[in-house]
């Protein structure tokens, strides 16, 4: 009888856990393997915005102040996380096909639907995927593998791309001072490069890239 009680308690716990996690398909993309480029890349932009930070940001938005803030608040209301990693390199071939495949294989995971696939020898490859639950968007993934840059964007939650495009140019982010944002890592390794590059003859510097 004691074992019966213990079994019942275990079944109840399992049922509660199952109920809590039911339908929670994960739209999170793992990007940890790309951290090895933090020291290699000329410029690294890393942004991690979780749900709590989004809610905090929404508290600073006043829909009555401007239509843009109302639109932004509308967009943020459905979001649960925005994760961005962008690496800019000084030369081509800094990252390998395996690095791209590491992200692309996750885009081929269950629940993701390919929205756009572009393969260009000149401009690189681009992949856009979205995760749906019925008619509700649950996540967005963007992979831009350019010759000298690698960008991965992962948005978790319901995002309206049309509304996002409407806000283009109206995000109100100053071009300077981004590095001072808490939680945003903008690492410019070009500043750390030796001064020898600056002493090169001007002819070499003017060569087309």
């Amino acid at each position: 009888m004691k074992s019966l009680t213990a079994t019942l308690i275990k079944i109840t716990l399992a049922g509660l856990l199952l109920a809590a996690t039911a339908g929670a398909q994960d739209a999170h993309i793992q990007m940890s393997q790309l951290d090895r480029f933090n020291d290699m890349a000329d410029k690294v932009i890393s942004v991690d915005v979780g749900e709590s930070l989004i809610r905090l940001a929404m508290s600073a938005l006043n829909p009555n102040r401007s239509p843009n803030e109302a639109k932004i608040k509308d967009i943020l209301s459905g979001l649960k996380g925005v994760y961005v990693k962008r690496f800019e390199f000084d030369k081509e071939g800094a990252y390998t096909a395996a690095d791209v495949e590491y992200i692309r294989s996750q885009f081929n995971g269950p629940g993701w639907e390919h929205i756009a696939n572009v393969r260009s020898k000149r401009e690189g490859s681009y992949d856009v995927v979205m995760m749906y639950e019925g008619s509700i968007v649950k996540g967005l993934g963007v992979l831009a593998a350019e010759p000298r840059a690698l960008t991965v964007v992962n948005v978790i939650g319901a995002i309206d791309l049309a509304k996002l495009r409407d806000l283009e140019g109206n995000f109100g982010i100053p071009k300077f001072g981004i590095e001072q944002m808490p939680g945003v890592t903008v690492q410019d390794n070009r500043k750390d490069k030796p001064a020898q590059d600056a002493k090169k003859p001007q002819d070499e510097q003017k060569k087309p890239q």
Partner: protein, 186 residues
């Protein structure tokens, strides 16, 4: 003593039962049992709880369920967070919070006419200083909220830029495919 003997003889006197006694007993045994009334719902319920182990298991399951429900409610409350600050609280503490030349003053002022009615409700719920501290924090966005807002907008801007790059790549790809074949010189 003879009387005692007689009484003992009578007591120990063996008397044979009637001839059909055994048959009658067996016949009675073979009869259908008397149908008892089915137990009522209450009797069945109490009987189920009468087993101590089931009682404990049920109590444990109910406790776990209550804990889970409380956890879910707490999470929902935390998710809504500052957006749930009512105009009543804003108006109630508007007098205590320091006024600034910020344009948000206009927002607070419009809510002020409701202050007399809602002040009573606000003070009944919690001490006034608590309300003033809470609303002073949320009436004007904190530095952390502003920083969070800029960070989120920056992330969205990069997202938008990435999508623009994809769109441009698609457009370039279409224009390349649609390019007419060069006319051969004759």
């Amino acid at each position: 003593m003879s009387r005692l003997d007689d009484e003992l003889k009578v007591a120990f006197q063996r008397r044979e039962p009637s001839a059909d006694f055994a048959a009658r007993v067996l016949a009675r045994l073979d009869e259908a049992p008397i149908a008892l009334a089915p137990p009522s719902f209450w009797q069945r319920l109490t009987a189920w709880f009468a087993v101590p182990q089931w009682r404990l298991a049920t109590a444990g399951a109910m406790a776990l369920l209550l804990v889970a429900l409380g956890f879910i409610v707490l999470r929902a409350q935390r998710a809504t967070g500052v957006d749930q600050i009512t105009p009543a609280l804003t108006a109630a503490a508007g007098h205590a919070a320091s006024r600034t030349s910020d344009e948000k003053d206009g927002l607070r002022t419009t809510v002020a006419p409701n202050a007399p009615v809602n002040l009573t409700v606000a003070t009944r719920r919690a001490p006034a200083h608590h309300h003033s501290a809470v609303v002073a924090k949320h009436a004007q966005p904190s530095a952390e909220a502003e920083a969070a807002k800029e960070k989120v907008l920056f992330a969205l801007q990069i997202t938008n830029d990435a999508l623009n790059d994809v769109q441009r790549a698609i457009s370039d790809d279409h224009s390349t495919n649609e390019r007419p074949e060069p006319v051969q010189n004759r």
